[in-house]
Each structure stands twice: as C-alpha cells, then as structure tokens.
Amino acid sequence: MVRRVIFACWLILCAGGEVLAQQNTPPLPPGEGMPPASSSATPAPPEPVGPPLKPSAAPAPPAPIVIAAPKQPNGKIEKSVVAGPRIMTNAHVVSNTRYLTVERDGDPNKYPARVLFVAHDCDLALITVDSPDFYKNMVPLTFGGIPELESVVSAYGYPIGGERMSVTTGIVSRIDFQLYTHSSIDQHLAVQISAQINPGNSGGPVMQNAKVVGVAFQGYSGDVAQGVAYMIPTPVIQRFLTDIKDGHYDKYVDLGLTYSKLQNPAQRRYLGLQDDGHGVIVNTVIEAGSAGRVLKQGDVLLSIDDHPIGSDAFVELEGGRAEFQEIVERKFKGDKVKLDLLRDKKPMTVSIELNTVWPYLTQGHYYDMRPRYIVFGGLLFQPLCLDLMEAYQMTDPRVRHFFDFFVQEQIYLEHPDVIVLTNILPDPTNTYLTPYRASIVDEVNGKKIGTLRDLAEAFAETPDRFVIKMVGEGPPLVLERSQVEGARERIRSRYNVIQEQNLDEQPIAQPAQASAGGPSS
C-alpha cells in the first residue's frame, strides 16, 4: 500500500479580495538548484520525475468530505473582515461535496458554506460563508513568497489526534515540481516541508513570519516515507487567484507537446546545432493543443519568451533555473508565448496562443461531474476516462491502448469520446450480447460515432435495427428497434433507471451556489 495521502479536510485563511490581489509576491522564483521537472509536457503517464518513491505514489481517496467542515485555523489575526471574504482550502477537500459547513475556533456554531471556485489541476478552492457573523473579529491572512530552503515554517490545521487546532513546525526541505495527486496528471511547483502533516491538515495554512507561505495538501503515508509533506506555494496560489479574477477558472494552459533533451553530440550535429548546450527537440505535437499546427515534430526549440532553453530543457529564471515549461505555467488562457526555433536547420520565430489541452483531461480524475452515459436496450455506454478505467479495472488490451495512447497517438481526433460498452443490464433483448462487453463503438448504421452525443443522436433515429459496429474485428452488435422499445420500460423499472442518459459535460453546480449567486454574477 504505497500511497501518497491527501490530507483531507481543513482550511486555510480567510481573506479579503483586495488583500489577495495586492499580495504580489514574486510570481515564481524557483529557488536555487531547483531540480528538473517536467510540467504538463509528459501527461500520459503521470509519474513525476524525482524521488524513487513517487511513481508508485497513488492518490488517497479524498477524505470523507460530504460534510467537510473547514475550520478557522488560528486566532492570531482576528480582527476585521474585508469585503468579499473568502476561505481558501484544497480542491480535494470540497470536491464532490453535497453540503459544506465551516467552524472556527472559539465559536460553537457551524456555518453553511458554499464553493466559489475550484481548481482541480492545482488542488485549490475558494469557499465563502454568507453569514456575516462568521467573520466577526477576523483578520484576513496575507501571503508571503517562497520560503528559503532550511527556513522554519509552521503548519496549522485540525489533523487527527485531537479536536483543537494543531501546530507543527519544520523546515523547507525541497522546492521542486511535483505531481499533484488530486488530478493525478498535473505537475506544478510544490514545496516539501519537514513539518508533520497528517490527514486533516489539508487546506491548512503553512506560515512563516505571520504570512501564509503555502497550503498543506499532500504527503506520503508513514509506511512509504517519513517526514515528506508538501505544500502548495504562493506562486501557484497567486496564479489561481489571478485566473479567477474574471469570475471563471480557466485552468492551466499548456503548449501540448512532448519533447526530448538534446544532449547527444551526434544528434546535435545532425540537427545543425552548435555545441552550445541549447535547444530541445519536439517529439509529438498534440493537434488539439496550443502548439498544434504551429510546431512540428523535429522542431528544435531554442528560446521561449527570449529565455534561452538549455539542452536539458531548463531556462534561467530570476536567478535560478527552471524547466522551460515554467514560462508557460505562469501564463493564462489566451496569453501568447514566443518561441525561437530551428526547423530543418532554418531559424524561425513563432507566437503561440495558449489554451488548455482538453484531451489531457481524460487522463486525470474528474470531480463534481456526473458520469456521462447512455443506457440503450440495457447496454451501458460510457466514454473512456481515468475514473472509468479504475472503476471497471479495465484489462481489455484494446481499451487500455485507447486510454494510454489517447493523447499521444491523437486518438481523440477520431474518437473525442472513446465510447465503451461497459456493462449490460440483463434482459431478454441482450441475453447473447455479453461477449461485446469492453468493446469500443465505431459506427452506428454506417455513421461514425465520435462523441456520446453522436451516439445519442444515432439511437434517437428510427431505423428497423441499430447495427453497431465496434472497433476492430468482430460482428456488429445488432439491436432491433422494436425489441429495444419493447424492453425499455421493463429495463427502466427492473433496474430503477431514473435517467437513461447523461450527456452533460458541465460540472455539477454547487447546490448552495445556485441560490446565493456566485462571484461570477
């Protein structure tokens, strides 16, 4: 049981909007000697580079947060509250919540709260409490920068071991890129601290000099490694807060490419490069990504926004070295990035408008989303994603291939949804259809099926029979319409199918948010 634990539950600061906006801590000064890390450039196998333990680190199930109760952490700065008070916590604390309350130290009441913003890719969320009583005599916390290596920090929270607030202290052990276990595909800057962090610390502030320098969020369970805990540092927090200024969280942006270091002398000469230790080579350009149709396989990236890219993929940044993707990490949807490159030995410069690379999202966990599906003739069709792979423990080699190579082989171009026949609700109409389980829908009555919506439309037509061609060899799955219609009510009532399909791709609206009107309005 090697697992990286997400220390679920509690809170961090209560802070006024203005205060947050003013806190212009240096956006991202990675410390000296920051070890290599690839950000979202290597999305498919979400194994971070770094300590050997990490690849096997599995996300812990988010702690029970049906009634998450983030508590105010400490009484240090209790005074007044600025307009628009917000409480910051981890995304995994409030993910999939149905009802949320918060408590504060010294106050016997539980206050209903609602989620304002959730950023699953960086495991941060903002919640608010509508009752003004909650904020009485409370002073918002402010942010510091990235703490120095070896400097002392204190983690506040309500971890297991008691009811009242706990404080633990330790030093900053490492500043590095880490896999953010909550989504399981995102890698961002994270700070490793030696302060004890345990389940219940999640979302709690890590303080230095009375300023918040991070949000405690994950670590290893004791049977894997001791004293390895991580906090989300302020550059990541600031990026989140800036992103949501327009009332909408746009997610991280990414170039959407994979690359290799260029450290082989022969390869450098082949590509027409000097022996100057610069440049990385583009391997795969994700067509749906920002760099799609701009960059090509074999392009040599020489500099990004005028920062020369080392052959180890690092750039000089604010006195330190960081992976070149860090330049992109700091940007927002719609921002541009300039790349100098060598294509067929000829120099050129391109400008790329940055966007989220959506195919990556299927490779990570979904939250606050109802699973999408169609039940038809007792057959359950679902689009392939990480949660589906895990839920069904998929071993079918074709399904595994479609999942593993969905992004890299650009399978999404033909199958934006890879629709799998995952389950069969037994009924006389489908008695002999069991062998079709785990096959992938390709066509219905000669029409290519790219998305779940395509499939719903195909099933809404009224042919004599539905001939469902699956990917690969095998006979088509044939459903006679009269049979499906005859079975419909029977299946609905027998299996208590309340809704025969859910095509909605939107996250579930937070229940409380709907009534109170979020900040976006």
Partner: protein, 498 residues
C-alpha cells in the same frame, strides 16, 4: 523442488467442457503393474536471455520419463527438450545410460520423439501401444518411478474431455482432464498415463491444489506420430480464422440466417491462412466442416466425444494437406468452399508466438540494441507479461493480424540502449517500435542491417513510432564504439541475424 514447480505453471481455464459421460465400468483397474516400457530421460539445457540476446541463461537440468514406442523411439513432451544441450536416456532398472537425439519436436502439440544413439539400448523393453478410445468416465493410471526403478502408480478419473490451449498458446488441442492425486517424484516432468497397459496420454500440466491434471491425449499423440513418419513433419493444421457464436437472434436475422440453424460467424482471417486462400471472408457463417455440422456455439457431434469444439476437426481429426469442404452462408446464401488444411509455423506470424532452440536475433549498433518483437521476448516480463510488458508491444502482439493485414513482416524494436560515448543523452530511450532507418522502411532485422550500411551524410537516423520519434548516431562513432561495447558488456558478437 524444481519438478513440482514446473508442474504448477498453468492455471486451468474451463470452457467447452464436453458433457459426454460414457457409461463405463469405473471400477476396472486401469493398469496391471508389470514391467512397463519406460526409460528415464535426463535433459540439460540453457534458455536464451531475450534482454541480453547475446547470452544464454544459467543451465538447467530436468529428469523425466519417456514412453518407449516401436522402432526404438521414445516419446516425451516437447517442453522437456526445449532449449536442450544434451539429452540422455537411462534404463530405470540398471542405470545404464546413452545419449539421445531429438528426432521430431512439435512445441504446439507439446510432443517430441527421441532416439537413443545406441540402437540396442532399448532392447528388452516391449514398445507401448497407444489406446485412442479413452472417454469421460475412464480411469487412467499415471506411471512414475521410484529411485530404485520400482513403479509408482496413481489412479485417476477422466472427468472431462475438451479442447484447450497448450502452453505454446498456438491452436487448440484435445485434452483429457483427470482428477488424480499425483505424488511428487523427481521424474514428474513427463508422466505417461496408461489404460490397460496401453499409452493413453502424457501429462500436460497438473494443479496440486485442485488435484486436476490435463493430459495430452493419445489421439493427439497418434496424429503426431503419423505426421512424424512423413519425410517433412507437416504439423497440425491451423484454423486461421477467429469466430463468434451465432446464438443472438438479432445478429442471426441481420446476417440473413433464418430458423435455428448452427454455424459460427467469421470475425477475422489471418492473412495467408488456408481459409483465406479458399475464399473465406469475414462475415461468413461457417455451418459445416467436412461432414460435421456446427451448432451455434461452434460445437459438432464427434463420434467419440459427442459435442465438442469444432477446432478439434482441425487438430485431432484433420491433417495438413487434406482437402476439407466448408459449408458456409454468405449473406444468407449457402456456398461451399474447399479448404486445403495447412499448418502455420511460428515463422509465418508477424510476431512469432514462441521460439525454442533458436538463439534470438539482434543487431547492436553503437549501443542501440535492435531486436525483432516476439512473444518470447514479451514473456521475459513474467507470467503477468500481458500487464507488465510495454503496452504498445502487447497491443501489437494481440492485434497483429488486424494491424498488419498484409502479413509477411516483423516488428523491429529498439529494445534498449547501452551506455557508450555515442549514446550520451539517450539514457531514456528504449522499448520503441522502429519504423525507418536512414529513411528506409524496416520490416525485419535484415532490412535494418542493410539500411544502417547506408548512412546519410555520415549519420544513422532511427525513426520510431513512439517518442522521441528520432534518434541519430554518428556512423563512424558507432563503428568505433563497437569493440568497447563488446569489451564492457561481454558481447561476443554485435549481431546475430538469420
């Protein structure tokens, strides 16, 4: 312990169990112990290391029994003699020994024939006859030997006769399943089973927990012996197509099938297979093979076993070279095809399903190790190779016919990189599927060997399906690195081609 462990390797899978339970006198003793025609067989050998294809694995030795047949032949399982260096026969009663040679071996049917170098060695051992009439309910006796040469007899009941995969995972063969409490002896590798002092089968695998044994049955042995008598061993006919039951009434109607007839739906055809030459197509429904009608699950009524999977018509009942009429329905229309049964050898696959006795091929260029993808290579990941081996390779293996319908090629992989001057910076490279070398498509190691001889502007360029997509070497540097590689990694030769 090795003998016991070797017996454990297979998990039983249950399908197509025949329910024919012929009434027999189950109390009848299967064997009257007397001097039987058994010899000990001692084998030493060495397998090949596919991760270091230039070297062999540590030597092994196995002790087994062989059944003495007519014409001075000794029958054993093929697994016993796989990758053998030396085979020796030993008279159980006297300990007398002689070297033996492997005359014929069929890894798919898991049978091999040995012949002693000393022709007189088997004198005094009356050859075993075969008995082909075993049916469910019969009792068979497993024969083993004590150290002293005394016979150890264990009695077992044939609980099922079905068509199963053998360890080579090629084709499906008739198998007896026995309920038997086999004891451990150091010759447990090949255990003969007899009925009325006639050979009824050889041990295929045994699961000590369930005490179930799978037996290579005498009819398969008879088939093997008939083939072995031919000048060129032809091998068991291959089926060459994949199929699907036609039980679903909606599929039947769609395919133009009326009524409740039988037949299997053809889902895929291996390129170059006998059935393809005969004109069989995907979507056809095969209703009869020879005189045997197929039911909707693909079973036919066998004169001896009653309902059993139709693949038995190919492996047990069919012989390579025979012309067999296939009755099919194409879009509801009855048609007849004539299929000349044919064996498909492991070499005819794109990714050979097994390789024994043959050193793996490889080509090392300046630290890059190129190999051809084989299932033997994938098996290096252990029994869980389907899950643990590189998924791309598993996928290529599983869907080879679908992905390469043109057939006739190999998949060349860049399996790993040895560190040397010329491969600096390529430490992460490995498990890649090679598409081109110096711009030329590569469909075999021979293609690769030819293409690397033609560097472009002094560089050898390797293109791969996976990232990093391209790897370049300085052709001269690669040449210079050769001797150092050989010395550092103990590689006798940098290439081994066909």
């Amino acid at each position: 312990m090795q003998g016991i462990r070797l017996l454990l390797f297979a998990a039983f899978s249950c399908f197509g169990v025949t329910n024919t339970f012929a009434k027999k006198d189950v109390t009848q003793a299967a064997v009257q112990p007397r001097q039987l025609s058994l010899v000990r067989v001692n084998v030493t050998g060495q397998g090949f290391d596919y991760f270091r294809p230039w070297q062999k694995r540590a030597p092994f030795s196995k002790r087994a029994l062989g059944a003495v047949l007519s014409q001075g032949r000794v029958l054993v399982t093929a697994d016993l003699v796989a990758n053998q260096n030396y085979v020796e026969l030993e008279r159980a009663e006297s300990g007398e020994k002689t070297a033996a040679s492997v005359e014929v071996v069929d890894y798919e049917a898991n049978l091999a024939l040995l012949q002693p170098q000393d022709k007189k060695f088997l004198e005094g051992l009356p050859p075993l006859e075969l008995t082909n009439d075993t049916v469910v309910g019969d009792r068979l006796a497993a024969l083993q030997l004590e150290q002293t040469g005394a016979l150890v007899v264990t009695d077992g009941l044939v609980t099922a006769i079905q068509v199963l995969r053998y360890p080579a995972e090629v084709g499906q063969f008739l198998t007896y399943r026995l309920s038997i409490a086999l004891q451990f002896r150091d010759n447990s590798y090949t255990v003969p089973l007899v009925k009325n002092n006639k050979l009824a089968g050889l041990l295929l695998r045994y699961d000590p927990r369930s005490q179930l044994m799978d037996v290579i049955p005498a009819p398969i042995i008879t088939h093997f012996l008939k083939d072995a008598a031919k000048p060129n061993y032809p091998g068991f006919p291959s089926i060459g197509f994949s199929y699907f039951p036609t039980r679903d009434p909606q599929l039947r109607k769609y395919s133009g099938e009326s009524g409740n007839g039988g037949g299997v739906y053809v889902t895929g055809i291996e390129p170059g297979a006998a059935v393809q030459k005969a004109g069989l197509r995907v979507g056809d429904i095969v209703t009869a093979i020879g005189n045997s009608e197929l039911d909707q699950n693909g079973n036919y009524i066998d004169p001896l076993y009653k309902k059993i999977d139709f693949t038995n018509l190919f492996t047990m009942r069919g012989y390579s070279g025979e012309k067999v009429p296939f009755k099919i329905h194409r879009q509801g229309q009855p048609m007849q095809l004539e299929v000349t049964l044919e064996h498909r050898s492991a070499d005819d696959y794109i990714i050979p399903p097994y390789s024994r006795d043959e050193a793996p091929q490889y080509y090392i260029l300046g630290g890059l190790i190129f190999q051809e993808l084989t299932r033997q290579y994938l098996r290096e990941w252990g029994t869980n190779w389907l899950k643990d081996a590189p998924q791309r390779f598993v996928y290529l293996d599983r869907f080879q016919w679908e992905l390469f319908p043109e057939g006739h090629r190999r998949i060349v992989i860049l399996s790993q990189v040895l560190p040397v001057n010329g491969t600096i910076g390529y430490d992460d490279v490995g498990y890649l599927t090679v598409t081109k070398i110096n711009g030329k498509e590569v469909h075999s190691l021979e293609d690769l060997a030819a293409a690397v001889q033609q560097p472009v502007d002094g560089f050898v360029k390797v293109e791969t399906v996976e990232d990093p997509k391209q790897v370049e070497l300085d052709a001269n540097q690669a040449e210079r690195d050769g001797p150092r590689l050989q010395e550092n990694f103990g590689i006798p030769v940098l290439q081994r081609l066909k």
